[in-house]
Symmetry: C2
Subunit: 111 residues, 2 copies
DNA sequence: TAAATTTGCTACATTTTACGTAGCAAAGCT
DNA sequence: AGCTTTGCTACGTAAAATGTAGCAAATTTA
């Protein structure tokens, strides 16, 4: 499945630098979006699919498996949910939201 | 080139939510890595390629163009460099490093 | 308890993205 | 004038994502 594992070669670091491993994981399509949406609360596979608006089941399934093996997601009685560590990276990503709001203004000018 | 633009459909948001646009941009392969390495200082195309350890020129060129259009990278007399906004997202990503160090321990246990 | 619905996926064919190597034209250096 | 470095493009191959269809198991409903 090619899960990026710290200590083993990952994208950006042949020696497996931990940050590059994390970038490799989070830098895959939908990964951050899934974490973001899952923070709204645990839910079923199909509900998560809808929250993401346009992810294919194939890709969602892959990302879920990867993120699960990476200790960021788990399966509970309520469906899929963020683990404690998953919630932690959410908190680390959270500041991006307000920043993105400002950043978005760049694009409005040069319409 | 399909640059994710806030306000227009992006991966994760048909209405173009600004955060999803940012996730779309940063979530492409090598994007965060490039920003990270560029923060070490401005450099040439080829030097950047080496810093990334294993990126192909094709992909590097693409990401550079995208990040440039997204106001995160610019070209100076010293070569490629982060813009002010580029430095800002670097600062937002920075906390991930120490977190990743702890996160990496998960993988050492189950060898 | 039998039928209908929902759920978590998988199959499969197509498109998109990334890789990797080769190499060229322009600029800089000697 | 020659040699090197630089920024990149070409091109063929491999990998990843898409999108639609649908199935088997679990759950809900009648």
């Amino acid at each position: 499945m090619s899960l990026p594992i710290p200590g083993k070669p990952v994208r950006g670091s042949k020696s497996g630098n931990h940050l590059m491993a994390l970038f490799d994981l989070l830098g895959r399509s939908w990964a951050m979006g899934i974490i973001w949406r899952l923070n709204e609360g645990s839910c079923t596979f199909r509900a998560l699919q809808e929250r993401c608006e346009s992810i294919s089941p194939t890709t969602l399934n892959r990302r879920i498996k990867e993120l699960t093996k990476a200790f960021l997601i788990e399966r509970t009685v309520d469906g899929y949910a963020l683990t404690e560590q998953g919630k932690e990276i959410f908190e680390l990503l959270a500041p991006l939201e307000s920043w993105a709001r400002v950043w978005a203004k760049n694009f409005k000018e040069d319409a």
